[in-house]
């Protein structure tokens, strides 16, 4: 970690050098440790140290942007000049009147020193603990990563904020021949992650049955494990939960605001202050993160905004901006779905005939406004009959509207699980979701594996 004082000092020199009426400088620092393993051996251990600066200036409402990495003051000042030139372009469009003002920011303590300070040697040891669980019966492939990150935001309106946070994620696929199982644990606090449990759970799932049976595609009642629910939630968010999606006419929330769009048990929101998640109390514009409800008991509610989209929609920013070279619009980073009252054994009991799905793979949108996506099952699909898991099933392709599937919700688990997205870039998406039992999920293709 570079540290608050050094980052603030550099940013202050950039602000002082700017000739623009308003200037905003953001620093994102990270130390990332990644241990990738495959064939039950570490094959790609890596460590990265980086710090990036994102500069925006305002000139008659026009925004100029530039970014650089490194701690050189000269490089930073050159980037400030570049941002100034970009804002002064004759064709630049007025997008904003002012950057954020200083507002009360909620406190958040998402930094766990055991996560932040862990060395590669200790992380490799933890991976070793996981690999031992296979004891020759399965082969493991996966990753254990830790992120030690800090965000500093200052602007010429007096905003001066710093936040440090940590994140860790351990996940693995266990393989024996054609049989695979998956497990993962994510937390801001690495001491909460049990690599031996991750290994054991994936192993149990891989070895649950010795063979897979082939079933025809069609509509099945499905118990979706948290990883599968998280994947669907992630894609729904991308298609529908941002102001950009509303503007582009591809958001179901924008198209049907205030209307019932799915089952009344479905509520989804973003909460950057939930300590179970990777907390981020403000965004890169220095706006405090608000809790934003996307779907409330099945009703379409709202989306996330940054300053630019908020002005366009005549509303206030919800504090979901990312740097311009990360995203073209605001992004919900801390997704959540409400749990219910059920649990896995109860859900299984409710299934006369259906499928238990561990996770999905390679989901892609087919039609955003209809929330239609396609993808594959992966690492464990099981047939459930009369409440019992009776067979392993070969993988399916699905082509389904997420909200149509959610509209057939039968039960949600009370317990929720944190699922981490990829750690690329430093802003990690965290998704907190329950297990979900749906009456119908449309599988449109079967496989021989």
């Amino acid at each position: 970690m570079v540290g608050k004082d050094k980052l603030f000092a550099l940013i202050e020199s950039g602000l002082a050098a700017s000739r623009a009426t308003q200037t905003e400088i953001v620093a994102l620092g990270k130390t990332l440790r990644v241990i990738r393993f495959a064939n039950s051996a570490i094959h790609q251990p890596m460590a990265e140290r980086n710090v990036s600066f994102f500069i925006r200036v305002l000139h008659e409402g026009k925004v100029g942007f530039a970014s650089v990495n490194g701690l050189s003051e000269k490089t930073l000042l050159d980037a400030v000049k570049l941002a100034e030139a970009n804002a002064a372009l004759p064709k630049a469009t007025p997008l904003l009147e002012r950057f954020s003002s200083r507002l009360p920011t909620p406190s958040a303590n998402g930094y766990y020193s055991m996560t932040g300070k862990i060395g590669s040697d200790l992380l490799e040891e933890k991976v070793g603990t996981l690999l031992e669980r296979g004891s020759g019966s399965v082969s493991y492939a996966g990753v254990f990563w830790t992120l030690d990150a800090e965000l500093a935001v200052m602007n010429s309106n007096g905003v001066k904020l710093h936040h440090a946070w940590t994140a860790a994620n351990c996940q693995t696929v266990a393989t024996k021949g054609d049989l695979t199982g998956f497990s993962a644990q994510a937390s801001p606090d690495i001491t909460q992650i049990r690599p031996e449990e991750v290994g054991d759970n994936a192993l149990k799932r891989a070895l649950q049955f010795r063979e897979s049976v082939e079933l025809p595609p069609g509509d099945y009642m499905c118990l979706l494990e948290e990883y599968a629910v998280a994947e669907l939630a992630l894609y729904l968010a991308g298609m529908a939960f941002s102001a950009d999606a509303v503007e582009e006419g591809r958001s179901i929330i924008g198209a049907k605001k205030g209307q019932k769009i799915t089952h009344e048990s479905i509520s989804m929101w973003d909460d950057g202050l939930n300590p179970q998640s990777f907390q981020l109390p403000f965004d890169v514009e220095g706006t405090p993160r608000k809790k934003v409800v996307f779907i409330d008991q099945g009703i379409a509610k709202d989306v996330v905004y940054d300053l630019v989209t908020a002005k366009r929609f005549n509303t206030e920013s919800t504090g979901h901006a990312l740097p311009d070279d990360y995203s073209e619009g605001p992004v919900p980073l801390n997704l959540e779905m409400a749990g219910g009252t059920s649990n896995k054994p109860e859900m299984l009991k409710q299934m006369k005939r259906g499928l238990l799905v561990t996770r999905f793979h390679y989901i892609r949108e087919v039609h955003a406004l209809k929330t239609m996506v396609t993808g594959m099952t992966r690492d464990g699909v099981f047939l459930v009959e009369n409440g019992e898991i009776v067979a392993r099933v070969k993988n399916f392709r699905f082509t389904e509207s997420i909200l149509r599937a959610f509209s057939t919700t039968v039960a949600l688990s009370k317990e929720r699980k944190l699922v981490a997205s990829d750690v690329d870039g430093g802003f990690t998406m965290a998704i907190l979701v329950p297990k979900m039992l749906v009456e119908k999920f449309a599988f449109t293709g079967s496989t021989k594996f």
Partner: protein, 480 residues
């Protein structure tokens, strides 16, 4: 810089590393987006740093940093070595590297006009003009964009390699989104998801003539709103060149990556159905299908002179008249088969480990014209410009959607359809290909966002393809 790099690498050798390499990479990127006659995005980014990869006792370690100081060089080298030592304790089989001659040389991709030196006003004006042409009734969003990328890379290894490369990539595209009620439809030119990317300068942008194509794609987007839903069933499908390119990417490029085949990507991206026993024996497609990995292809964004292990760029046949004959390999994976690397290792910038990546994976042209293919189709669909893509973790079961499709009835094009999709199993699908269009129809497509690895690395890869025809394909998937 060679002396400083050599000093670090020599130190690593002295500490017991059997191999080490170091890359210093500097990138400059410019992205401009005009949306609905509004300059929506105007970013310039610069990013630099270095990465050191160490092989110790048969295990890898990699560390990297933004800070290019002698002290940080030493710290990062020590960290990479420490990780490799730790990994070696938990390793099973020791990594061996296929031999390669020390590479020395300097290379720059051809570029007539450096896009970063073109006045921004000129670029922005062009995007505004293209957008304006798309702003017709029914179009909700008119979007035009440029992406420019310049990368300078130094590479040195303990085996005496020292290379210096610079590549320039230019990309551009326009897209019209039409909306009516619950229906929204997109059309793009020259390709979807940001357009097309080539290894060239601003001269490519002028060649594209975005303004000329803008009105047509806007009209097509609006027309799609009223178009009927694409039919379901088994049909003959003709894919346009760009869709064939993506089909190659997903169902040939990825499954021929030897690291996937050997289980090294199983934790995330998945494996491959093209297991080693299939090489030279497996019928991948019809005899019309010959696919090569060409890292020397002019303008291809997967073109270079040396990969990130110092292996020279090569042309490798992957599929020869339908037979599966070759993989994309690295020094580590090739050594497992007693072969030499065919030079496909690339890392995404300074802060990523090199992985096996597609170069330009190209389908050799056939001898048909598009008209001939249509004329000889009784009942089919012509599917144009990708909209959606997905494939399983073994690269067998795929599903694609295109922005638009035309009915083909008795040898003629008919109705325009919306929401067209097709699905299949890789070898069955390529096996059903009975016609590939000629060199005249062959185009090179650049995908700037091929994802692989953890953290996900995005890579520039190319695909050359002509339109091709496939028989008995399942189309119209899902309930609409």
């Amino acid at each position: 810089m060679e002396r400083e790099m050599k000093k670090i690498l020599d130190t690593l050798s002295a500490q017991g590393a059997s191999y080490a390499d170091m890359r210093i990479v500097e990138r400059q990127m410019e992205s401009i987006v005009v949306k609905n006659s509004r300059l929506d995005r105007n970013t310039e980014s610069q990013n630099r740093g270095f990465g050191i990869r160490v092989l110790f006792d048969g295990a890898w370690g990699f560390a990297c940093s933004f800070e290019q100081t002698p002290e940080e060089f030493v710290r990062v080298a020590e960290e990479a070595l420490k990780m490799a030592r730790g990994a070696a304790k938990l390793g099973k089989e020791k990594v061996k590297l296929a031999p390669v001659k020390a590479a020395r040389g300097s290379w720059k991709s051809p570029c007539k006009v450096n896009p970063l030196h073109v006045k921004k006003e000129q670029k922005v004006e062009l995007l505004f003009a293209a957008c304006k042409e798309m702003e017709i009734p029914g179009v909700l969003v008119a979007r035009a964009s440029f992406d420019f990328f310049v990368e300078k890379k130094l590479f040195a290894s303990t085996e005496g390699s020292y290379t210096d490369q610079e590549i320039v990539i230019s990309g551009a595209g326009i897209e019209a989104t039409a909306l009516e009620g619950d229906e929204n439809q997109n059309r793009s030119y020259p390709n979807s998801f940001g357009g097309n990317y080539v290894q060239a300068g601003y001269e490519y942008i002028e060649r594209l003539d975005l303004v000329k194509h803008a009105r047509k794609i806007a009209e097509e987007a609006v027309a799609l709103l009223k178009a009927p839903q694409a039919p379901s069933g088994q049909k003959t499908v003709i894919l346009d060149s760009s869709q064939v390119g993506l089909q190659i990417h997903e169902s040939c490029g990825h499954p021929t990556e030897l690291d996937r085949v050997l289980g090294m990507e199983l934790g995330f991206a998945g494996g491959s159905f093209l297991s080693p026993d299939k090489k030279g024996k497996f019928r991948y497609g019809s005899d019309k299908i010959t696919i090569v990995a060409d890292a020397t292809c002019p303008e291809g964004i997967g073109t270079f002179a040396f990969d990130d292990e110092g292996v020279p760029a090569q042309v490798t046949t992957l599929i020869d008249h339908g037979n599966f004959v070759g993989y994309l390999s690295s020094r580590e994976t090739a050594a497992q088969f007693g072969e030499e690397s065919n030079g496909t290792m690339r890392g995404d910038g300074w802060n990523s480990l090199p992985l096996i990546r597609m170069t330009n994976i190209n389908l050799n042209p056939g001898d048909w014209s598009l008209d001939e293919m249509i004329k000889e189709t009784e009942d089919g669909l012509l599917m144009v410009t990708n909209r959606s893509w997905s494939i399983d973790d073994q690269r067998l079961n795929f599903q694609f959607g295109t922005e638009m499709a035309y009915e083909i009835k008795n040898g003629s094009l008919g109705k325009l359809y919306k929401n067209a999709t097709y699905t299949g199993i890789t070898p069955e699908f390529w096996g059903s290909c009975d016609a590939v269009a000629s060199k005249k129809f062959w185009e090179l497509w650049g995908l700037p966002n091929c994802g692989k690895g953890e953290p996900v690395q995005t890579m520039f890869v190319g695909h050359g393809a002509s339109p091709a025809r496939y028989r008995n394909v399942r189309v119209g998937v899902g309930k609409w």
